[in-house]
Amino acid sequence: MSTLDTIIIDGLAFALPMFIMAIGGIFSEKSGITNLALEGLQGFGAFCGGLTAVLMLRSFEGSSQIPYYVSFIAAIAGGMIYSLIHVALCIKFRANQVISGVVVNILAVALTVFLAKRINDGVFGQPSNKFVLETSVRFSVPGLSRIPVIGAIFKNVYPFEVMIIVIAALMWFVMYRTPFGMHLRACGDNPHAADAAGINVNRVRTIAVMISGGLSAIAGMSYAYSITSNFSPDIFLGYGYLSIAALIFGNWSVLPTLGACLIFGFARSSGQALITQLGMPSSYNDLVRILPYLLTLLLLIFFSKHNNSPRALGEIYDKGKR
């Protein structure tokens, strides 16, 4: 396999989960709720999925793919339920949305590590804070994967990448082609007008945050199946924040955000490929890992000035306010 192929394959495996998480963020922020909680949501989702997978792997044969898909469903459910904390704090208790996001993230780390240790100790009888998963199987599309360069897109694909693309397309449709999507965008731009038009602003926002919880959980689970191949506190590596940067860079719309995610993904994978190519010691990997973060910062410098965020972003909806 050529280096270029590796860059494309690894880059996509990193970028697509980030993309689906960013879409979740777009849903939440377009409805008017700042969502820094993505980081915690993806971690909690991965925890739920990881737990389910570990529990199920004991009763299924090694080659069965059922635990894989069930764990994704469990992750989505977990992420959606966990996002209700953000909903409650932001909508019901009118907390500052940035504070709420940070709180949700801190709680996610504490809660998942505590529960993981507890469950490992109690159920599996081993002191550990990890749920060890197997790295997901990969497949190559016959024929298409033989094409030079572009073929790499179809080579060694994780099944979750396909799932993400399907869901992303669906979410794009919901956002831009359905009445619900329009209501959602209205709630983020002018909630009072939306309210006057008979839309229940808080209900729409609740659903939007829950969607972001579910989508982030897919991302977290994907990372647990690819990069770390386990659930452990390592899942909280700031990918959630990276995806927020991606959606700001993508100006809160879906397709440009995909571009941003791809840039991050390829920056990461080409950096790693470079280290392998040059035969540098593995400690140099740490230097390369800076790339996505540094790139985010640089891109934000160029693109933050003229962004048009949803107008009512971060504002608590108060019916009485004019």
């Binding site: 709680l107 590590v113 505590f114 100790d121 700001i248 973060y293 933050s304």
Partner: protein, 375 residues
Amino acid sequence: MKKLIVKLMGGERFQTMRVSLFCIITSLIVGAAILLAIGKNPLAAFGNLLQGSGLMPKSSYAGRQNMFTDFMSFLDALTPMIFASLAVSAALKAGLFNIGVSGIMLASGFTASVLVGQSELSAFIAKPLVILIGIAVGAIVGALIGWLKYKFNINEVVSSIMINYILMYIITFFINTFFVDPISRQSKTITDSARLTLSGTRAFDLKFDVSLAFPLAIICAIVIKFLFDRTTTGFEIKAVGLSRKAAKYAGMSVPKNIILSMTVSGALAGLAGVTYFCGYFASIQPGVVPSMGFNAIAVALLGNSDPIGCIFSSFLVTVISKGSIYMSSQQGVEMEIADLITSVILIFTACAEFLKMYVGRLSMEQGGSEEAGEA
């Protein structure tokens, strides 16, 4: 029940403090419920927290140790926490969230360990130098975040998190490549003359740690309190935090105040870094962002971003985190339960504004019904 709530938290006097206290007690009850659910005695567990922090005598001690030893070690852990929470609250005054405290701590701690920690300087030069380096490095990174905020309109939360990870990876690289201690896999231990904690001081038949920076932390809190409550600069920063447009209209410079508050915040975070990595610890573990920077957000919010409040809330959170080590060894509970309780406190604190509003509404309802009864 409602009357009780109003009685406890209604009225203007010390309301913020009473609401904070209510949040803490409710969180402790939640913590107790968790402990009960996993079959532990919550009272014993909370007692262990106090014992581990040297606030209550343990049943037995090792040689040359007693409650005083534990308490001094507790103060040593408390010092960076006070600085870190002051850092967060200084930024909060200007309406900014400095989530970069962790990264700044690493940067200042690392710079000080490398520049001074390995040198042969005498203690009288080395220790002040460590503090000055901490302040300088922190202030630079803080100012950078503030500059990015006003110049390029980058959300400070996102930029400070990016900077956290960038700093963490760079420092991890340098530690692993140049400064690693082959046995502990951490950075090389700094010399005693550079360390801000006198470890293993012997007196009164005891052996204990003395945190030299603790008085400095208290002084800093008072200075920051003075800065924000009694000076024009502090007033301007607060005005910018409350409403940027209003401040601009009144002729204040928004960029200047944003950068200034982030610089102060960064300098304090830098102090937290040197007292943590060159005081409480003497080496840096590569590959980890210190969680203290994030807990400091909780602490600052709990202290209502008031410098003196920060001292008290740092005290509480440090009791929980420091005592949890002893608790986990005594009760066989995971140490993370401390983080769990801290985050529950945070959740309630996030609702403090709502709570105040709710109490206000309740007391108005009750006041209204009483008046109706009299009429």
